[in-house]
């Protein structure tokens, strides 16, 4: 708080005038430093609308130290002339005077003096005029009296060049009465306190206004990861549709369950070193349902169940190879096999969302591991129309209504369909995922009844999340290079809006 006396004096001055006051003028007339007045203005402003102060800035000319000297004693050249007696003065003597050097050249160019170089006893200076008009001094005096406006710009600039004048910017306030003007000051409270509430003193107090423009203090809290938020939503959708979650907590799978049980032939490119991570330790799986394994061998190598088979030499060694599962469909196969071992078949709807692994080339949208979302329905008499109907309902819950289906190839589904949706933003059809009807060569060896159809679909969790949160590089979303600020800032996830 500025000096209370000064603040009050200022208020009294403001009260007296009709219009307003300039803070510079107040400072001059009170004979105090302008900064003190500025301080008083600031502290009054903090009290609310006691006064209103508008900042102004003006430029004006001021004499420099040298300029002040000249205004007082005359210009250097005039002082040179007045110090030279009638009989002249040796140049060397003149040069010893403080103003000698500058004054000499100026007086010479004004032709107020002359130099006799050949004079006996050395060069001597004589004055050539008796009376002179010291214009420089006159101009500076005008400026000193605050009448700088009478000078032309050119003249002021010339004096500035001679370092006699300088232009200064003055900031000041134009002070007028505010809507709550009063000459007495009450101190404003910053916050309501328990004491004020207890005593009721808050009724008399004035409170400092809040700055509603500023941001609040961020709450000190933890955050959920955006991909996991989207996972929660997909889980919710499946649960709403009556799907039961599959136990997908087994990243390591045998080739048997990952490929062979799905009627994926052993020479299929997906089973290459280039596409799949194989394990060196534990390298092999050692336990399989033997009679089922035999039926799988047979359907691959010889056919059966209405199939020609692939007619190749099926090897147990290939089936034993342990891998990091390439899809969660390996778990679906285990679940369907388990279902087939029930005494009586019961219809099921299964889902899972979990990690799968591909030994692929990595880029901005592909990582070696990602989350697969999978849905499976098994019942008597399901049709391709049912699969499209259920996909329609599923994607509707994600807010996607325009779907179309493209024939595709997949070793374990027939028919196979790629699901496309029309993206309003991109103005084109984009691929959402894959779907199909599991082949009889996969289901019948498991022991499922002949009339049972199993429909399924899958998509990645990362892709819809990247679209939803506008992320272009998958590494910013998944893995340790995640941008935590992005995690902190990410909104709640509502997939249908």
């Amino acid at each position: 708080m500025a000096d209370t006396g000064l603040v009050e004096t200022l208020l009294q001055r403001v009260e007296k005038v009709d219009g307003g006051l300039d803070s510079q003028d107040v400072a001059t007339s009170l004979g105090v430093d302008h900064q003190a007045i500025v301080g008083a203005v600031k502290s009054l402003q903090a009290l609310g609308d006691v006064i209103s102060a508008e900042q102004r800035s003006s430029k004006h000319w001021e004499l420099t130290g040298e300029g002040c000297e000249i205004a007082e004693q005359g210009s250097h050249e005039a002082r040179v002339v007045s110090s030279i007696p009638k009989e002249g003065m040796p140049q060397s003597q003149l040069m010893k005077l403080a103003f000698g050097k500058v004054g000499f050249s100026k007086a010479m160019s004004n032709k107020w003096i002359r130099l006799d170089k050949g004079h006996e006893g050395g060069p001597r200076i004589f004055k050539t005029v008796e009376r002179l008009e010291d214009l420089v001094r006159d101009k500076l005096l005008l400026v000193q009296k605050g009448q700088a406006s009478q000078l032309e710009e050119k003249e002021k600039n010339e004096l500035k060049k001679r370092k006699l004048l300088s232009e200064v910017t003055v900031k000041s306030y134009w002070i007028t009465k505010g809507s709550c003007f009063s000459t007495t000051i009450t101190k404003q409270e910053t916050e309501l306190t328990p004491e004020m509430i207890a005593s009721g003193s808050w009724k008399e107090k004035k409170f400092k206004p809040y700055n509603f423009e500023a941001m609040g203090v961020a709450p000190d809290c933890g955050h959920l990861h955006p991909l996991m938020k989207v996972r929660t939503q997909f889980r919710q959708i499946f649960l709403e549709m009556g799907f039961t979650e599959m136990p997908t907590n087994n990243f390591i799978e045998s080739s048997f369950w990952n490929f062979d049980s799905l009627f994926q032939p052993q020479q299929h490119p997906a089973r290459d070193q280039h596409d799949t991570f194989f394990l060196s330790d534990p390298a092999q799986a050692h336990e399989f349902p033997q009679d089922y394994l035999e039926r799988v061998r047979k359907v691959h190598s010889e056919g059966g169940f209405g199939s020609q088979g692939y007619k190749y030499d099926w090897k147990i060694e290939e089936a034993q190879k342990n891998i990091l599962r390439t899809h969660t469909t390996a778990v679906s196969a285990r679940m369907l096999y388990k279902l087939a071992q029930q005494e009586k078949f019961t219809p099921v709807k299964y889902f899972s969302i979990d990690r799968v692994f591909r030994n692929e080339t990595l880029d901005a949208t592909h990582l070696a591991e990602f989350h697969q979302i999978e849905g499976v329905v098994a019942d008597y008499g399901l049709t391709l129309g049912d699969l499209m109907g259920i996909l329609h309902q599923f994607f509707n819950k994600l807010g996607i209504t325009k779907l179309r289906f493209k024939p595709a190839y997949n070793p374990y589904t027939e028919p196979s369909m790629e699901v496309f949706s029309y993206h309003e933003g991109l103005k084109k059809w984009v691929e959402l995922g894959n779907s199909g009807v599991f082949r009889p060569e996969m289901l019948l060896p498991m022991g499922l009844p002949e009339g049972v159809t199993v429909i399924a679909w899958g998509l990645s969790l990362e892709r819809p999340t990247m679209i939803k949160y506008g992320i272009n590089n998958i590494r910013e979303l998944v893995g340790h290079k995640v941008n935590l600020q992005m995690v902190y800032d990410s909104p709640v996830c509502r997939l249908d809006s």
Binding site: C221, G222, H223, L224, H225, M228, G242, T244, P247, N249, N250, F251, I252, Q267, P269, F277, F278, L279, S280, P282, A283, A285, E287, G303, S307, Q308, K311, D313, N322, L324, P347, K349, R355, N359, A368, T383, L384, G385, D386, M388, G389, H392, Q393, R404, F405, K406, P407, E414, P415, S416, V437, R439, P440, E441, T453, L477, G479, H480, V482, V487
Partner: protein
Amino acid sequence: MPTVSVKRDLLFHALGRTYTDEEFDELCFEFGLELDEITSEKDIISREQGDTKAEGASDVILYKIDVPANRYDLLCLEGLVRGLQVFKQKMEAPRYRRVSPVSSEPQRLVITEETTAVRPHAVAAVLRNITFTQERYDSFIELQEKLHQNVCRKRTLVAIGTHDLDTISGPFTYTAKPPGDIRFKPLNQAKEYTAQELMSLYKTDSHLRHYLHIIEDKPVYPVIYDSNGIVLSMPPIINGDHSKISLNTKNVFIECTATDLTKAKIVLDMMVTMFFQATELAYRKETLSADFINRKVGISESTEHIAQLLTKMCLRSEVMSDGEQIEVEIPPTRSDVIHACDIMEDAAMAYGFNNIPRTTPRTYTVANQLPLNKLSELLRQDLAAAGFTEALTFALCSQEDIADKLLKNISETRACHISNPKTAEFQVARTTLLSGLLKTVAANRKMPLPLRLFEISDVVLKDETKDVGARNNRRLCAVYYNKSPGFEVIHGLMDRVMQLLEVKPGQGNGYHIQAADDSTFFPGRCAEIFARGKSIGRLGVLHPDVINRFELTMPCSALDIDIEPFM
């Protein structure tokens, strides 16, 4: 998915009409193809090698079309056109017939014992009276290459050789000999080489070097001779120069040598049927009912209409006398049809997937969550509420991440090892969530302190009792990273987790911690956590060397527990 590149104008000429790009895209979609890219040779060169190189290259427009991986019959212009024309009912599915030569006996290929040691199967055929134009010739060569890359699995399963029959004379012999005993002038070379010399010659050949490994280590190499001892080819590496085909070739001898006989037959059928002029091959017949198709697809079409739909897909079909059954003829080009469900798919495609009414199955089921996932979901919410932020780290990492950097020996980690990682980042499946969290901290050092992170996810451990010898383990890990270690913060979080899991402090049925030695932690600053009498994990202040190895600078405390005992 293989991509076939065809000249647009040539394609339209063969289809007998032009399409706009959009119309053609639409046609592809219906037929299960994808118009991947519209480009030209000039575009491709300028994109890959710069504009200057592209100068003078052809700007004839090319369509690049993605073909499903099992449709080998669509891998060349001829096959594509045939498929699309029949689909649009512009032509009938062609009949493939085998004919005997008018003036001579059929050719023979004799396979000798010795081949069993290296490449036991071979099949062959002759295409007679062919006329090659430059385009047709290019397409013929291109088809071989496409088949080699796809169904032939880069020549490992099948290798194709094509020869000008008029330069050689049968019967032919497919045998295998020690590499030193094979000597001939290979395709486009000026002199003769032994097989050994060829293998070293091709070591530097950008194309052929990829196939050398197939026979390199074998005691004998496969070779095909004609009756005069001329070498036709040394499969799967190179043909002889003597019998090479040219634009003037009239009769082509095609041989396919293989390690898989079924695939060899498929490939030979493709080569022959795509360039047939008059041949007849084995057709298979399948009988199925219209009702089967209607039930599986979810439509109700007449038997006649379904037969028409199938015929549109190159599967010539006839309604049988009972009016219910359909006899479907599967041409040799459609090796993908191995079950009635494949025929059903073709009917659905011809009907148009998008014309099938979308229905809701009446399957009634009650949803259940996996209990472990249910618990994880609930804990995640409460850990975030406790002020910790969720991280999501990779399940695969380097050995260093889970061992050296945590001051552990890899042998004590029970880690599962990957045999074919492309980089060190994929050497093992993680055995702890801690390294992922510390790497997350390291990547976010610019963020204001303290950093409080957690993750609830699976690690993988070797486990002999499981069929695959390994199992997942659901763990909860949290770190606190600040200017002071904050053991009390991480301890408080552990207390909170126990509270959430309804375990009270205390020995016996409750939980307690006791001092433990663990190389990852600062000596004297680590405790083991016991809940209901069982050790479930550790907490403590990390060892300064661990901090350094993860390129961190501040003290850090961590909590790592197994949540499966709470199920």
